[in-house]
């Protein structure tokens, strides 16, 4: 069986010496199964990191697996080095072999993921290219409408201005849709950069609110903010969490009628910092509440009142919070308002390499 599987398979003893190498592994690594028996696996099969640097032996997972008895899978772009020195990207799982509660060796299975990586790269490139392509005509429509609205091509009557206003709104919505879809595909493919920095959430909130002030003022809404000035800084990605505040606050503003009230409270609860965003708006109908984090969901009670919105904001918010090791929950009553809470761990999160960041 071991000899007919397509994945590479190597078994070692508890010192990491090779006991067995199957033909698939032989082929991928260009090794000779007979010759390598008894050799040190880590020395025989060097591994390289994402940048092609050889991983020092003490950092190879095999040692930890043999010591701790837990299996280990790398999903990142690690490379194995063949006997001739060339490298190939590989997905590797290292598992302990246990006998009567003691670790007697390890099994390493791996496969060549050159093709997957290529497909993945093509997909990312396609998304980026498609969004670029869509944004170009959208920019043109937007800018020409602006030129007309400004009266740069002659004065327009009231009705013409109104119709242009409708075109403008639809165009901006389409632009937002492209931006949201792009951000979502970035989150979904896990290619997003997470770059944590010590961040004071109160300050981050103030920055976002500064941007939103004109919108709040134009709806004559009352804004109440409360956070402790000595709130400890936490290590999160400010860019991502900014998008969370922005989306939740934009929703609060949009779905709250004029003269309504929006409250934001940030406080520490145990090992978390919890942000609360409450509005006195139209709320989410009870029977739709389980759907609110789904893509393209928009409340049936607001769909005829509010024309902006893509139905992607909360989905994105949830993806970001989950990637930041936090939680999000809400309470809502129709015509009473909605409260969202999200928590972020005080301990912060670890950075993650990627190749894209979120766009506004």
């Amino acid at each position: 069986m071991i000899f007919s599987v397509g994945d590479g398979l190597v078994a070692t003893d508890r010192d990491g010496k090779i006991l067995l190498m199957n033909p698939a592994a032989e082929k991928m690594l260009l090794q000779n199964a007979q010759e390598v028996i008894g050799e040190d696996y880590i020395e025989t099969v060097p591994a390289a990191d994402k940048d092609g640097q050889i991983i020092p032996s003490e950092k190879r997972p095999l040692l930890a697996v043999l010591k701790q008895g837990k299996s280990f899978t790398n999903h990142s772009a690690n490379y194995y080095v063949r006997k001739n020195g060339s490298k190939f990207p590989t997905a590797i799982t290292t598992s302990p072999i246990k006998y009567q509660n003691s670790i007697i060796g390890a099994i390493i299975t791996f496969r060549d993921i050159t093709h997957e990586k290529e497909v993945d790269r093509m997909k990312t490139e396609f998304i980026s290219l498609a969004s670029h392509q869509l944004r170009t005509p959208l920019s043109a429509i937007r800018w020409f409408v602006e030129i007309l609205q400004n009266g740069d091509a002659g004065k327009l009557n009231k009705q013409q201005m109104e119709l242009l206003g409708d075109i403008y709104q639809s165009t901006k919505r389409m632009i937002q849709l492209v931006n949201d879809l792009l951000n979502i595909s970035r989150m979904e493919t896990g290619r997003i950069i997470i770059d944590p920095k010590p961040t004071h959430l109160g300050q981050l909130l103030e920055e976002v609110l500064k941007e939103l002030k004109p919108k709040i003022n134009s709806k004559k809404q009352r804004l109440i903010i409360s956070y402790h000035p000595d709130l400890s800084k936490i290590n999160i990605d400010p860019n991502l969490i900014r998008a969370v505040y922005l989306n939740l606050l934009l929703n609060a503003i949009k779905f709250t009628p004029e003269y309504g009230e929006i409250t934001v409270i940030i406080s520490r609860k145990g090992n978390d910092i919890v942000s609360q965003i409450t509005d006195s708006g139209w709320g989410i109908p009870k029977n739709e509440q389980r759907k609110i984090f789904q893509k393209f969901y928009r409340g049936s009670n607001i769909i005829k009142k509010v024309f902006e919105g893509t139905g992607l904001g909360l989905y994105l918010v949830k993806s970001i919070i989950e990637a930041s090791k936090g939680k999000i929950w809400f309470e809502s009553g129709e015509n009473k308002g909605t409260t969202f809470w999200f928590s972020l761990p005080v301990s912060g999160i670890l950075p993650k390499k990627g190749d894209v960041s979120i766009s506004p």
């Binding site: 944004r135 920019s139 043109a140 800018w143 602006e146 492209v178 931006n179 894209v356 960041s357 766009s359």
Partner: protein, 130 residues
């Protein structure tokens, strides 16, 4: 002569966008050198004795990319001081940081801005240069 008006070179391969930008810049009392490709822009720069006061640069151009264009621009001493504003619909962090490192003043996402806003940004660049 219109020599007192600041001159902006616009490099944008999308004909309709170029048309909108050109129109708006002229309305704001700026001279415009409209270029639809990197090659056309370099040819134009070579012809002129006085460099433009600012460059409005798209990233993906038919014949070159923003990075290649910036590198060329930085090779000629006469052109190194021209402020460049990159306005593109494709802005991943790698591109942005590469362009800023090459001396671009800012890198903005086209679809997210009003044309007015972008025009006043380039206008302020022509002033700071003076």
């Amino acid at each position: 002569m219109e020599s007192k008006k600041p001159t902006v070179m616009v490099i944008e391969d999308e004909h309709l966008l170029l048309k909108a930008i050109e129109r708006k810049l002229r309305l704001n009392n700026l001279n415009v050198i409209a270029c639809e490709s990197g090659t056309q822009a370099i040819e134009n720069l070579n012809k002129k004795t006085a460099p433009p006061d600012a460059i409005w640069l798209d990233y993906y151009l038919g014949d070159t990319t923003g990075i290649e264009f910036m590198k060329k621009l930085r090779q000629n001493a006469k052109w190194t001081d021209i402020p460049v504003l990159v306005i593109s619909n494709s802005a991943n962090p790698e591109k942005v940081s590469a362009m800023i490192a090459l001396g671009a003043k800012d890198y903005l996402l086209k679809a997210n801005y009003r044309l007015d806003t972008l025009v006043s940004k380039i206008q302020s660049l022509t002033i700071t240069k003076k």
